[in-house]
Symmetry: D2
Subunit: 410 residues, 4 copies
């Protein structure tokens, strides 16, 4: 009958319940560094397309931990030995794998800090390891790829890891892009370990194919949906403008931590405890609140871009499989510069082009391995009975151009 007073169970619409297995993990979740993830949206600005997509990195991290619990259960059922200590390390590592994400990180990884989020995750883990008397050491070792049992890292970070398992399912659930829903239960049931390497049993091959197709679909239908894309590009431009103004000594209203990162170029080397603390105060609320305020700034460019996002009145965007010619942007920039009476350089905040790329399966990265009935192991691309897995490993590139819709409407 006993059950300690620390809350042990969290409701989840996808899995029913997520169990928090022990008080160390409970305490990590309670830590302000982790609670911060409640204020960071998992899908950035995608809610402008899919109004349900407001779920957070907090929720995803719990979900990924739940997937890890299932995976451990399945592997133990198949007589893969995983010690109590290893189990705990796996749960901690997956729980904290994304703790280094900043707000809107896809859009802003280079606008705010010049550091990859995984690197910051590691900084947070090390900091927490101090606070928790070294209890995270094994988790960190696994996360850094320094542990000899390779499959443990693969469960955390590979082409079929618990991270993807949860985020595809969760993003599909909350956005309502039903086609993105994967059968994570089945995928996990098909996992096994041979010589400390993660493999998938052969009868799971169609589920993997389906998983990769779902991932491909989620990229084009959600993560790279043209409306999300243009919104994130506008956000990047807005930050660029904000920095320019600060550089010129023009003041802009925003929270202190955000102001710090807008005024200072921060690289890996700069990250000491203080900076990490400042970073830990930054979340979606700083950015959106700033945009709300900047709508009324008297810099025309800053206010225009901010309004676009706040009122979802975005630039027009076109996608194509061919590059857009430089002449086209030149013409648009010329027109805008005349029409709005701004310099050509400033017009480039409203007219720009670029490319996006996605690859459902990366043949050059560590493969998804299939354990065949004859006990040999093969890359999933070879093991499939059809060419579409090969096809899925070809990268797809699309080109975009963005410009004010007034350009075409009149």
């Amino acid at each position: 009958m006993p059950l300690t007073n620390k809350q042990k169970i969290v409701n989840d619409p996808i899995y029913g319940f997520i169990t928090i297995p022990n008080s160390l993990i409970y305490d990590l979740i309670q830590h302000p560094y982790f609670q911060r993830l409640r204020r960071i949206s998992q899908m950035g600005l995608s809610y402008l397309v899919y109004p349900g997509a407001h779920h957070t990195r907090f929720h995803h991290a719990l979900g990924a931990m739940h997937m890890m619990q299932k995976a451990i259960e399945v592997l133990r059922f198949k007589e893969v030995e995983i010690s109590k200590e290893e189990e705990n390390a796996l749960l901690i590592a997956i729980l904290l794998h994304d703790i280094g994400h900043g707000p809107f990180s896809h859009a802003m990884e280079h606008s705010i800090v010049e550091v990859h989020h995984e690197e910051i995750s590691l900084l947070f883990m090390n900091k927490l390891n101090q606070e928790f008397d070294g209890k995270l050491s094994l988790a960190i070792k696994i996360f850094k790829g320094e542990y000899h049992r390779k499959f443990m890292l693969q469960l955390i970070s590979s082409q079929l890891d618990m991270d993807r398992m949860d985020y595809l399912k969760r993003d599909s659930f909350y956005s309502g892009v039903a086609e993105g829903n994967i059968n994570s239960d089945r995928l996990i049931q098909m996992m096994n370990v041979v010589d400390d390497v993660l493999v998938m049993e052969e009868k799971g091959i169609y589920s993997i194919e389906k998983f990769l197709t779902s991932r491909r679909l989620m990229y084009w239908q959600a993560y790279l949906h043209k409306t999300s894309l243009v919104a994130e590009l506008i956000l990047t431009k807005t930050l660029k403008r904000a920095k320019e103004l600060l550089n010129k000594g023009i003041e802009i209203e925003c929270s202190k931590p955000f102001h710090y990162f807008m005024s200072n170029k921060v690289t890996s080397a700069d990250f000491n405890d203080d900076l990490l603390n400042t970073f830990s105060q930054l979340d979606d609320f700083d950015i959106i609140s700033a945009l709300k305020s900047w709508q009324f700034h008297n810099d025309y460019i800053l206010s225009s871009l901010s309004k676009m996002i706040i009122n979802r009145d975005l630039l027009k965007i076109k996608l194509d499989s061919e590059k857009f010619p430089k002449e086209l942007t030149d013409t648009y920039i010329q027109k805008i510069s005349e029409k709005w009476n701004v310099s050509k350089q400033d017009a480039e905040f409203f007219v720009f082009k670029g490319k996006i790329k996605n690859q459902a399966y990366n043949k050059d990265a560590e493969p998804i391995r299939i354990l065949k009935k004859d006990r040999t192991i093969e890359d999933v691309v070879e093991a499939s009975d059809q060419l579409n897995l090969k096809a899925l490993s070809k990268p797809v590139i699309k080109y975009y151009i963005c410009y004010p819709k007034q350009l075409v409407e009149n």
Copy 2:
């Protein structure tokens, strides 16, 4: 084949797709007043209990409109005449019924403005009616209860309206409180109209019973869950403190619109166009950003309360069916005042009590009417074959007390 360039369809994980039926409604949705609802959470601080509960009033309003479309379809199938113009008015009225909500409105209806959100909704509708050349007139007439076909108001606001139909379903979906899920499809299928009054066909009676039980459950399990409750109470206390400080001339950091409402007592009579505009700039981001900043304010009370919410490190709360004795709060206040070296008055920010009440079905309000097989009409409470509907109409009252957990832990 034709389809105009205005986006006509929105993904919804609950209904699959929500269709935007015409360009007037499309333009209303695009209006900044309505887009603001994207930044107001439907369930306030409930995400501190149910981490998935981040859906917004924007999404709910679209969902309620979708339910209305279904209801109109069903009623027309049953040969209830609803003209094209009436249809449009119904859709607009339900779409805008909640547009007057401020951030965290359950907690803050009296902290920010002394005006009921329905009154503000009406102000917004009137303003939009001007902008849209009177095209909202019939919607407003229905919303104000001035239209002769009474069932139309009942579809928008009654004990079984499209608002509840959507929010129970949606809150259940996003929070994962599965028991709250109602069968809105079936409930709508059971609707009919007799003499311009909304009725439910008799065979729907068990679904109504289930609907009321679900609503009761959602109240105690989610809306009045003790953790949501204490968080909202702390939020109210925080705003109270912020106002006190401002009154004393001590500055606090927050957005301009929020500052306005913290510094001025606003009532119905004050609402002109300007004030409405200021109100329209206020959303969850202003509040949460302020709390984030206030964590570092040097007023101990303001910073303590703010941190509680931001880090989800809340006061302890107890619920009971009996009132808590005054002596108990007195003792707690005494202890806190000594321990933290604050005045008794200030200690009351941390120790307080009160009561909450819920009633699944209100017998004194307009009833849910049952159309019996013999064509007579009866209040659902009478028509049921059992006493539990009667039971559900008894209000339930619970008493709470909140205090710092340090009081009991040491």
Copy 3:
């Protein structure tokens, strides 16, 4: 990596996967006695109302076993000790709890054999225990209520057992009566054991209320739906007629085992191994195939009744909270007897009345016990903050009358 060649996992649309934990249970499932349950529909003739309701007792038994696995996991997490042997016994007992059901057992429990299905379940278990060298002994002991740890029986058979947990969920899922869906995950999470007695934690009280409302709804909306009811009543009449004909020496076409039970009155005392074997050959296919053949029998009554079910062209049925007067049936019988030129006695195959009863919670049976926060234990009816649990324990009685629709149509 190892996994034996016995299939260990079964797909289930409700739970994702059901794991078969060991080879003893695997072998029990493979046994023809258990495979027979694949041919017995869980909801009898309800598919005439809900066309999806074709799921079987086989599937339900697996589902109930899965629920039991979850319950054991939760209880162990709460430090209730359950040995490996007890675990296995619990799984076997729940798996086999319904193995004694005959086809359409609600309609036919008294038409085919005069023995309660639980008694036959026990006969099957004993037989299997012989075949499996006594490995079912503990399961049987628990099932018979002879084991000292009382909660184990309660998990198998009580007002909140794994049987109900699965069948409500499953019947709701397959029929599409969404309101019947219960939150079994949450209910199980709330279970605990005190002094070897099953209790529910207090915070689960709304879920229990919801569970009882769902059960009540499933009774009136599905199990006792008037169309299911009349179909089952007609089936009972058909068997009655078939027996009469056999008694008169008139032959009827049907399978051998079915013929045996139609020609012999079987009671408890008759059940030896041979009879059990004959019984084990009986399933829905015998009954429906017989009806199909009897459509062309030259006994007017037998053929008419059989056609009604096969073509879903049923008698008219009316339900009321008041008894139907004897005069009404008399008049109908008179009319039918004239119109169809049959004796009054034969007319009674087409005109009859009776009553049905349901009680969502039985206060006289073993209660659902609530473990309150102060560690006392209370009947759920007392512990609830409202009267509707009391209301739910009042039995509801309804009266029905059935007659050919031609009586009213002309």
Copy 4:
């Protein structure tokens, strides 16, 4: 308020409700020819793998009609004109498209009658057209491909028709093979008509890709799952044996209609009204009841094969991408013939091989057409940005061999 007394709404766990739009369609559904479909399983013997897969052709036909209603609604929203009469014809045609299916038709199309089920569907439609005074004429015209508006046939029968739309979704739902779930809502939303030809809008292209992957997966994971496959092959062998015995004058027990088809070779030319009636009495119950009885026949082969299916104690089956060598079957046959003391010819009932083939998209059949943003139309394979649709149109062939498991176990 009016609503006639014919039941107008059917519960469906997938779509919520299916509306029966008028009394002609209601009467068709009530017809014994259509009611028969309640007794024909949609997925044949797949329930031996997926215990939930007991849904029927009756339910599927209603579901496909529901999909058609949605498609008509979407097309009309896009200003495709569809008259009331055409609408009705479309609904009738899709409702009856599968009415000619016999029991276990994938396994038995050549064992029972030498006629394709679509041909028999047409015979039923013509018969019903007589009974219903020519009201099915337009439906029949469309079904036969004789109507000038080609898209109407495409909605009923093409590579993306309402039939597939429902059966993939339904088979996935009831079996629990979650990966087979397609987003039919979205697919239908993407439909349009140009020059009376069905097209899909370009932004639906990923959903089509997902649809084809789902279909491919359902083939290998469900329809051609090795256990379903071997069960269906055994069933075919059983019927073959039954016919041989009848030819030799040895009697076997089974229902009259089944006996007729076992004793007579029936081709297209034989189908008169009487034969159609006999065929209409045949369903799954005849087959399974016969197998149950044949378990006790004294022909060893007939009884062995029958028991295999009834007790799910099947032959061993192996699949491979290479042909199995003739020597292997020869050896197995030799062994069986010795071990069981049967002729080699009889041993072939237990040892046999063959191949199966599936193609997710058939490039030689009528294509799925994409309506591109520039208003040109292209085959989906060309329009996709990647090669995997091309890959999906390559047929996959697998070879199988079946033999008694005793052969390998000892």
